[in-house]
């Protein structure tokens, strides 16, 4: 069966520090991969999605970037975090024609 791993579960970072969140999927090949952010009291905002290695689409201009170095690995990065980057970050995967499945998320707090 397919599983998705996302880490760390919680992260506290100072303003201006770099960020790297990692997501890996097991049990499937060539999945679509997604990064979402849920700000406090708001819905899920799609940040990036990828349909293959090295193929990244950005949905919202921001201080973040994404990379897909391997088929089942998706990384969310920032060179310098802002206070507004705080939130709950979720990685998800899907196979075409099927609903997305989410990881358990990373709670990111910027101090």
């Amino acid at each position: 069966s397919q599983t998705i791993h996302q880490w760390p579960a919680t992260l506290v970072q100072p303003v201006g520090s770099p960020l790297s969140l990692e997501c890996t999927v097991e049990g499937t090949s060539n999945p679509n991969l997604y990064w979402y952010r849920q700000a406090a009291g708001r819905g899920l905002q799609l940040l990036f999605y990828s349909v293959g290695i090295g193929q990244i689409s950005s949905e919202v201009p921001q201080n973040l970037s994404a990379s897909r170095p391997q088929d089942r690995q998706f990384i969310l990065s920032s060179k310098k975090l802002l206070l507004s980057d705080s939130g709950f970050y979720l990685c998800a995967w899907s196979i075409r024609g099927q609903p997305q499945h989410f990881g358990d998320g990373t709670r990111l707090s910027i101090l």
Partner: protein, 112 residues
Amino acid sequence: DQQVKQNSPSLSVQEGRISILNCDYTNSMFDYFLWYKKYPAEGPTFLISISSIKDKNEDGRFTVFLNKSAKHLSLHIVPSQPGDSAVYFCAASTTSYDKVIFGPGTSLSVIP
């Protein structure tokens, strides 16, 4: 502009009664609709979906109704149980779930 709206931020229901969660959308090109359930500090889990060629889909205690002319869908939970207490997200897509737009969510509390 929000393409998927859930106008009720919260809903309280007695255990055993029906819970009705509503969702409205603005993009007439949406043809797949989904409901996700989310517990605190966890990722959303897929609950039920419906395509635009149907007006009803049922899975156990959960039924989703779609009214395309009104651009409205609803999720019915019967009977409601305390374990159903969670945030429910309505979502919509134009291309077979590949890119999904989520609503802001409705927090459901089922009171024992």
